[in-house]
């Protein structure tokens, strides 16, 4: 049940009516039933994996919290500081054991379902080097929807309980709702329990203005996806699927089309699901903040798939940075390296490589995703190593007005290359595509002739919409809320809703002979 399907909108209408009709205290139950139905419709019996994961974090959370309470009670009975410290250490040890088992079980289940064939292939390849026959058979496994999303959100919940930043949920069904909340289950964003769970139990009265604003956001997302991104996908699919037919500027057009496609597709879907969630009066996290205006790759990743970056920062980067291994390396660097900058920067190698490898492999069980993660790792780490040299050499250039634009162009060029690797079927194809960029052959019209589903007006529409959204983002970069302009009064809101619905009906890519385009990120 994709978010652009009529079935989804029928489902949404029924859920909305039920949500605003039932007593306010029961609203979260409607969301839970809807989410379970949504999940079961897409994944059938595979829902048991999600239910089991939730049960695991539920019981684990209660146990960890129970140990905290036990510590508080027993602490009062102890006189000396040493005794209290010893008790605290004992409790921490038990909690650590629980969290380790749960995180390994959650990630292990994800790994077993999503990555077993990939790792099995690696092991078979390794034994093959010694002349042995493959020892691990290839499995045909169907995975439940959103497993990569709900697993990481489950890990964030249990780790936050362990860290003491949230209280464990006493009601299993409320936790289940957090894990499988239908607007965020297929392609995120990664919501955190502390931000989302309180909203589920609040009473939400129907508010006409908020409802219409949410509808505007939902329609904006659908226009981005159905009118623009799905059209762009024809161009990028043509070039990537038939890359041997193209070279030079045509390859570049394919690469840029894919970059724009994935941005408008993913950010469009996020706008749509945020709009859907707001129809219920519930705010879910923002995932994009005009990433193509970034001046560096670090900044790009703070603006693109924001919630994945935040997850990696909280649950990979910081823990690895503060691990005993990292700290001892850091101490050795502090004593052995006279340059303070390098003494502090070189130890970030370990946490950074863990972050980028996790980011790569999260996207899929393939070497290209691992290389994709390492690509960003090298750009960032090499950038850090050369930072003092660049800082000196570019001191004067940085004061120039156009310097920021050069930085933005450089960042976008690196992003386009990265996303080409992401989209190409293999690393070898990616390399061939980059190599053929050097060709001076001009065969752009071949794309036009090959994309038989796109007509001249489609190209014009793509161009106009990209320019319109680009101008909108320029205004937003300057701190102006463009959405407010369209939604500031009744007339403008309904004008926008009418235009958007007409655009989706007349210009959206759907209908007979068209298979509903799943969002690019739904497959992760």
């Amino acid at each position: 049940m994709g978010i652009t399907s009529l079935l989804f909108f029928g489902f949404l209408a029924v859920v909305l009516i039920a949500y605003y009709v039932v007593p306010k205290k029961a609203q979260w139950i409607i969301l839970l039933v809807a989410s379970v139905v949504f999940f079961a419709y897409s994944s059938k019996l595979l829902i048991v994996y999600m239910i089991a994961t939730t049960l695991l974090i539920y019981l684990g959370g209660l146990k960890i919290q129970g140990l905290n309470e036990k510590f508080k009670e027993k602490k009062k009975e102890l006189d000396s500081r040493e005794q209290r410290k010893a008790l605290k250490a004992d409790i921490k040890k038990k909690q650590h054991a629980i969290i380790t088992i749960i995180v390994i079980a959650c990630i292990g289940l994800l790994g077993a379902l999503k990555y077993c064939n990939f790792f099995g292939g690696i092991i078979n390849g390794a034994v093959g080097l010694f002349g042995a026959t493959p020892i691990i058979p290839a499995f045909s496994i169907v995975i439940p929807i959103g497993i990569s999303y709900y697993t990481l959100m489950s890990v964030s919940y249990i780790v936050d309980v362990y860290r003491g930043s949230i209280k464990a949920e006493n009601n299993y069904f409320k936790l289940l709702l957090f894990v499988c909340y239908f607007p965020h289950i297929t392609e995120g964003p990664f919501d955190t329990y502390d931000k989302l769970a309180p909203q589920f139990v609040e009473e939400h009265k129907f508010d006409y203005d908020s409802f219409v604003n949410a509808l505007c956001l939902l329609l904006l997302g659908l226009v981005k996806k159905m009118v623009l991104a799905d059209r762009l996908s024809y161009i990028s699919n043509e070039v990537f699927d038939n890359y041997t037919n193209y070279s030079g500027i045509s390859i570049l057009i394919g690469m840029i089309s894919y970059t724009l496609y994935i941005y408008f597709d993913f950010s469009g879907c996020i706008d749509a699901v945020r709009g859907v969630s707001r129809l219920f009066g519930i705010d879910i996290a923002e995932n994009f903040s005009r990433p193509f205006f970034s001046r560096s790759i670090q900044e790009f990743w703070r603006r693109w798939h924001i919630t994945l970056g935040a997850w990696l920062k909280s649950y990979v980067f910081y823990p690895v940075s503060l691990s005993k291994l990292s700290k001892s390396f850091s101490k050795k660097m502090n004593t052995g390296c006279k340059n303070k900058y390098y003494a502090a920067t070189i130890p970030t190698f370990l946490p950074l490589i863990c972050v980028w490898l996790t980011m790569g492999i999260w996207h899929g069980a393939s070497w290209k995703y691992i290389v994709y993660g390492l690509y960003y790792f090298f750009i960032i780490f090499i950038g850090l190593i050369f930072e003092p040299i660049f800082a000196k050499k570019l001191e004067n250039a940085r004061k120039l007005k156009g310097f920021e634009i050069i930085q933005i162009i450089r960042t976008n060029a690196l992003v386009v290359i990265g996303l080409t690797m992401f989209r190409a079927d293999t690393i070898s194809i990616f390399c061939k595509m980059l190599k053929s960029l050097a060709s001076t052959q001009i065969n752009v019209m071949n794309i036009v002739h090959s994309c038989v589903d796109l007509h001249k007006l489609d190209y014009l529409l793509i161009f106009v919409l990209v320019v319109v959204f680009f101008i909108k983002e320029i205004f937003e970069e300057q701190g102006k809320d463009v959405n407010l302009f369209f939604t500031s009064n009744k007339f403008k809101r309904w004008l926008w809703i009418t235009v958007a619905i007409i655009a989706i009906i007349l210009l959206g890519i759907y209908g007979s002979g068209y298979t509903e385009q799943a969002s690019a990120y739904a497959e992760f």
Binding site: F317, Y318, S321, A344
Partner: protein, 76 residues
């Protein structure tokens, strides 16, 4: 406080740390800066900042960082 300002000056030279209350929210200190800061604070003040302490509220201003250090010193 002076030692802390010295550490911060080493991380972002020339920035007016004393008058900023949104060091994290405005992206002045990145996650890499935070790790560098934590490492130097641990050494300078002989405390141990843990992962649970790494929340924006503890690093948004010099005063907030100082309160965190004092809290950790008290715990010891």
């Amino acid at each position: 406080m002076e030692e802390l300002l010295e550490i911060l000056e080493g991380i972002k030279p020339g920035y007016d740390f004393e008058n900023s209350k949104t060091l994290i929210d405005d992206g002045v200190l990145t996650s890499l800066d935070i790790i560098r800061l934590v490492s130097e604070i641990d050494d300078e003040f002989d405390v141990e900042i843990g992962v649970t302490d790494l929340i924006p509220e503890n690093f948004n201003s010099v005063e907030a960082i100082m309160s965190l250090i004092e809290k950790l010193e008290d715990e010891d």
